[in-house]
């Protein structure tokens, strides 16, 4: 009978989740520094409350809540972010490491998606959350999460031709 025993501390948990969490936070702000501030605040809050690290829906909900609080708190900053969103390609640091121009185009297409589709896409593709977990994070049903995911893919497929 197999009995796997693992000892983890927060650094191990965080190192696995960090890139996906920062990418998710980037959906709300336009710089990596801001995204990392959000992730720092959210992770400290989450961990202090001793939630299970396996409750990923709640972890992403915490990141989203901190991000939205930040935007609401500082209206001037929110305005700046909104202005930045209009000039995505000129002003934002890249969210991905690119291998070629095709990937750059795909990333730009992702940036043009509506935020409610983009956040579902990010949680599904790069964080591998289930639709149930995404639903928990966004306070929506898992069917709605799945629909938004399909709409996002359809929009990307329309605007982006996969290169062989």
């Amino acid at each position: 009978m197999e009995n796997v025993v693992t000892h983890e501390d927060w650094k191990v948990c965080f190192s696995e989740l960090a890139p996906g969490l920062v990418l998710f936070a980037r959906q709300f702000v336009r710089t990596s520094a801001d995204a990392e501030d959000i992730v720092q605040d959210a992770f400290v809050r989450f961990w202090r409350k001793e939630h299970s690290i396996e409750n990923r829906g709640l972890l992403y909900a915490t990141v989203r809540s901190v991000a939205l609080d930040l935007l609401r708190r500082d209206t001037r900053r929110a305005r700046r972010e909104a202005n930045a969103a209009l000039e995505v390609e000129q002003t934002t640091a890249p969210q991905f490491d690119f291998d070629d121009g095709s990937q750059r185009e795909l990333a730009a297409a992702i940036d043009r998606l509506p935020v409610e589709q983009r956040e579902v896409l990010v949680m599904k593709i790069w964080n591998e959350l289930t639709f149930a977990e995404i639903g928990q994070a966004l306070a929506i049903s898992q069917n709605t999460a799945a629909s938004r995911y399909r709409y996002a893919l359809a929009a990307l497929k329309k605007n982006f031709v996969v290169h062989e």
Binding site: W10, F14, P19, V22, E36, E50, S52, D97, I110, V162
Partner: protein, 169 residues
Amino acid sequence: MNDFSELEAELKKLRPAPASPELTARIERGLAEVSGRTATAGVLPRRRNIRVNWLGLGLGLAAAAALLLLARLDVDQPAGKRQSVVATTPLPFAQPVPVNDAFVPAGLTQVVYDTRDEGLHFPEGSNEPVRRVRSRKRETLKWNNPQTGTSLRVSYPSEEVTLIPVDGQ
């Protein structure tokens, strides 16, 4: 294979930009600042704030009052009447519970939330000091049923005290 599988594969090839190396250190500092204790490999959580949910408390009190009222009414009934009620009530037939032994342990996860050095102590009957370190953890036990694909998970907090002998140099 769906219509989007090729696109999904392309998306997965995109790698999120890595988090800066300082982020982990910043979180460690943030956790340490909150509790005011020594930063360790574990996390130093703040005690939970107790918030009173007045609606829940009110409903709970109302339910308790209703139960007390019902219990009093029951006590007030004549003994004979109560006996007849008991006599006419069919006894539930106890179904044998099938023993499902198909669950197999899949793992134990221990997450350390807080490690606190409580300083030097002299255990009873010993002249040698020891350092007492208290760790607060959450342990999660998981079982899987390979036949049905179901899983069972139990999570509970635990506390561990470790006594470390101190070298007298």
